[in-house]
Symmetry: C2
Subunit: 202 residues, 2 copies
């Protein structure tokens, strides 16, 4: 309902909100129109079809997630600090946008082709290979315990992202509200770094 912005932007904003909440199949064009404070016909006027509108929102989400990660992975800094940076970056970004990962993962599963297309559009997108080489090197230098780089990457990613994917489940089981969840996630930045570095002690 941002009366300041132009219609195109308003629509994208509204579409983001509805699609991330309901998914492609669950979202209604009427919902998006209502959220944007405009008429349903306008959506088609500007973006032709539901699928086209979705693709824009989805690709934007992918790029947002990936670009962030990529810059850190490529950065030159000592290994433990890099781990710290990755974790803090993820948790901060996802605290601001908790529904994003579940949305992305669900839609990738529903339609892997669209994701792969977008992956290939951005050349050499996830710069994870270099980071994995770093893990092997550190292991050989003896700075950290030797560990399969694929598994370590999975561990770091899992522990950073999964709590947000499982947020409603955690909240129901542990009976905690949004404020408490935020606090746990804030605390988690420190805990996770400690945990991972402890696991990697030679």
């Amino acid at each position: 309902m941002n009366a300041e912005k132009n219609t195109e932007e308003q629509i994208i904003e509204a579409a983001k909100k509805i699609f991330t909440k309901k998914g492609l199949a669950g979202a209604r064009m009427q919902d998006i129109a209502d959220e944007a404070g405009i008429n349903k016909a306008m959506l088609h006027y500007y973006y032709r079809s539901k699928d086209k509108l979705f693709e824009i929102v989805f690709n934007e989400a992918i790029n947002k997630v990936m670009t962030n990660l990529n810059t850190i992975l490529a950065a030159k800094m000592p290994f433990p600090e890099k781990i710290k940076a990755i974790i803090e970056n993820y948790i901060t970004a996802l605290t601001a946008n908790p529904q994003l990962p579940l949305f992305v993962l669900h839609e990738i599963t529903q339609n892997p082709e669209m994701f792969i297309r977008e992956l290939k559009a951005r050349v050499g997108f996830p710069n994870v290979a270099a980071f994995m080489r770093e893990i092997v090197e550190e292991g050989e230098k003896g700075t950290i315990r030797k560990i399969s780089p694929v598994q370590l990457v999975m561990n770091i990613l899992s522990m950073s992202v999964f709590p947000f994917v499982a947020k409603p489940l955690f909240q129901a089981v542990a009976e905690i509200d949004d404020v408490q969840f935020r606090m746990i996630m804030e605390d988690r930045k420190r805990v996770l770094v400690e945990f991972i570095l402890a696991a990697l002690r030679p």
Copy 2:
């Protein structure tokens, strides 16, 4: 298409498959009928509505996931072995059913009320409180490093479940097929236990 089983069972079987794959909003009654090798009208004859059918499938999924975990959490065994049991149990179960967690998490997010209703129906369902007490005790005994029990539970769960939630993403980025993924998950049982126990060394 199990010609042996009775129609009720065939329908549930088919509904499981389609719902876990497409979600509630994405699934079509026609798909389920086709999968079961029967007519669309039969679905309504046996289960009245799409929502009713879905609720049965969903609750069965919840119970399957929970019951398994609960028995292990309640079991009496040394702490490190319990961790091993939890991880191996999860990874084995999810290897046989990789789409289950994403389905459950997505639908909980769409409709938390249904999940909470089912949670309350099973009394004292997730027996996680006892396990968290165990974590604190072990920390005070000095057998493991002191750590917030909530955070440790999140870590264990995240690392066990998330790879399956993110399976299509991993496969696309790392360009691996189903066989390779299975191997990595099989290997992961050992790696994870090592990783966690290493992180918990006092």
